[in-house]
Symmetry: C2
Subunit: 338 residues, 2 copies
DNA sequence: GGTCCAGGTCGAATCGATTCGACCAAGATT
DNA sequence: AATCTTGGTCGAATCGATTCGACCTGGACC
């Protein structure tokens, strides 16, 4: 069932079949119908590899996600879903590459085997080998997140700096004087994970501006870690009355730890975070948070990528999103403790 | 940077470069070194499309996931992660296709454009158009889940029937006489979603065997729905003291509804379910559940698929998993109410 | 009536790999 | 000494599409 077979049965040449399909040259109404009839009968579809070889493009984009070992956060899942969805709308397929390490085979296949027309990269570090690889391979790509050199690539990102600052200001407005930042895992931050560093910067700035007492801690990305993190935090700093966090996966643990300590939210203790809207709404109690529009971000990344593929020479574009903080049920007026 | 370029610079023919790379014919140590040097210098990698065209296989598998609109449950996410992971270990790439509807373009591309060597299908219905399409397209595939005709395809599945029955027996052993089944969404069940039907069957059987009073309800896959579902359930059947469920996404809502009704778990009310191990452990309170090894299932599916691709004539294989029920914190002795 | 153009079609070249048959030289086998 | 391997290499065919140049026909135009 290749194009030659169709041509033979329709009594035309292979090129005519191709033109009938693509419309790149006129084909008489009658032959077109005859060809279409044969195609429908045999269920023919052009071989994707042959087409990709001739056209020099695969109509596929690569999506590089964190290695499969670790669970995706709800926000990351939102990115993936929206990228896949947006790509499908543009008739692009998505090739998944779970890559974190240095010389990842899957990643190498994607970038240098010309398997994809472009790549979307998630979970970018401040210094990221993968970005370097992509830059010198010449494959168009867009980051969800960016490196220490923002101008070197196109990206869509969340303005963690500003957002955490907003959270701190919100807490300060409510009278909180002793506030902690619960960051993501120590390894991730040590490895130069951008959001982690930018959240620290925003936290430090806001704390200084408002003359607060600020504590910064890292916390692994899971419920259990969140719980122990909270215990340690309260033990070391009994005067704390509020937390700002970018660690979605740990929030449930923070809740649990607070309940365990006999503290009720938001009466005795407040939490404000940065999280996917969907998630912040559905967790219990609903989290006061800067609602990251994960769905939109993935779609935007695909848009940018399609533009770069069409014209790799266009200047880089950057989208830094700073959605407003939505008040839900986890922040309230400060009530001094201890 | 194609194979001809490498050949020219190394002073050999294109075929020799190919043989040096694949090892399918002997090449002298000296020329091999010279070729390798050129390859390393230029960073050459064979063009995947050209190779796929000639070899007739793409070294890629398709993974058909539920449409992006709806969120993946933790269990589904576990499948995806483990499939991607297992595929990467076998040096296979994964092409994602979010397809649910009838004539999905993305799905059609995957099955009939010879973009993939095989397909893994998730969220299968008792009658599933996609299975029919795959069957007559001749593309090797493996299901995570199966249809009304189990023998027509290879699959890996969870034995919801047995597992829900085990849950009910466990609850009956604890003295519960009035038990409800919280199924997945009404639309899904109406559409012939296999796990939903098999859970009902297992529930009915166990309830009959133990002479219990059983109530069956459907519930959409989210926290809010779980909460309202529980309210309605208590209102209509105040005598209930336990729930068995396969609706992971609704469990948090059930918890919330119970708390709201002033019922404590497991003192006043018990819940037992079927869920991904990882998730059952991390939710609060930890759910007594039959722990579906989502990670392993994805890996097994990939294994089966690789076998089918290698030899499409092998008889179909079926893996029906029925892991034991792990006791956690949500089931206890019945305490009659009302 | 000759020229031009547009519609409609075909054949051949091309994309970048793999692979088969053929060839040659050097050593092994009888 | 003639024949047979075997290691090592090359040229050409092939996979299945797209696309360019060329060709034919018939109507419009001057």
């Amino acid at each position: 069932m290749n194009i030659g077979e169709i041509a033979k049965r329709a009594g035309v040449s292979r090129s005519t079949v191709s033109y009938a399909l693509t419309g790149k040259r006129p084909v008489s109404e009658e032959t077109r119908r005859r060809i279409q009839a044969v195609i429908d009968e045999l269920g023919y579809r052009p071989n994707a590899s042959a087409r990709a070889l001739k056209e020099g493009r695969t109509r596929t984009i690569g999506l590089v996600i964190p290695p499969a070992g670790q669970r995706l956060t709800d926000m990351q899942l939102g990115f993936v879903a929206s990228v896949v969805d947006a790509a499908a709308r543009a008739d692009l397929d998505v090739l998944l590459s779970p890559s974190g390490g240095e010389h990842d085979r899957s990643f190498e296949r994607v970038v240098s085997g010309r398997r994809v027309d472009g790549v979307i990269l998630m979970e970018i570090r401040l210094e990221d080998d993968r970005v370097a690889r992509l830059l010198d391979s010449g494959v168009p790509f867009v980051g969800i997140g960016h490196t220490r050199h923002p101008e070197e690539m196109s990206w869509v990102d969340v303005d963690y700096d500003t957002l955490i600052a907003k959270c701190v200001h919100h807490l300060a407005d409510l009278g909180h004087r002793h506030v902690a930042l619960v960051n993501r895992s120590a390894e991730l931050v040590a490895a130069g994970y951008g959001p982690g560093h930018r959240a620290q910067a925003g936290f430090d700035r806001a704390v200084a501006e408002r003359g607060l007492h600020g504590v910064r801690v890292c916390c692994a990305d899971d419920v259990q870690a969140g719980q122990t993190c909270l215990q340690q935090l309260l033990a070391a700093h009994p005067e704390l009355t509020a937390i700002a966090t970018i660690n979605e996966a740990a929030v449930a643990g923070l809740y649990r730890g607070l309940a365990e300590a006999g503290l009720s939210v938001p009466r005795d203790f407040s939490i404000a975070g940065v999280a996917a809207r969907h998630w912040a709404e559905s967790v219990h109690p609903p989290l006061t948070a800067a609602d990251v529009p994960a769905d939109e971000m993935g779609a935007r990344a695909v848009e940018l990528l399609i533009q770069r593929i069409a014209n790799p020479a266009t200047p880089h574009r950057h989208l830094l999103l700073a959605p407003p903080v939505s008040l839900r049920s986890t922040t309230g007026p400060a009530r001094p403790r201890a």
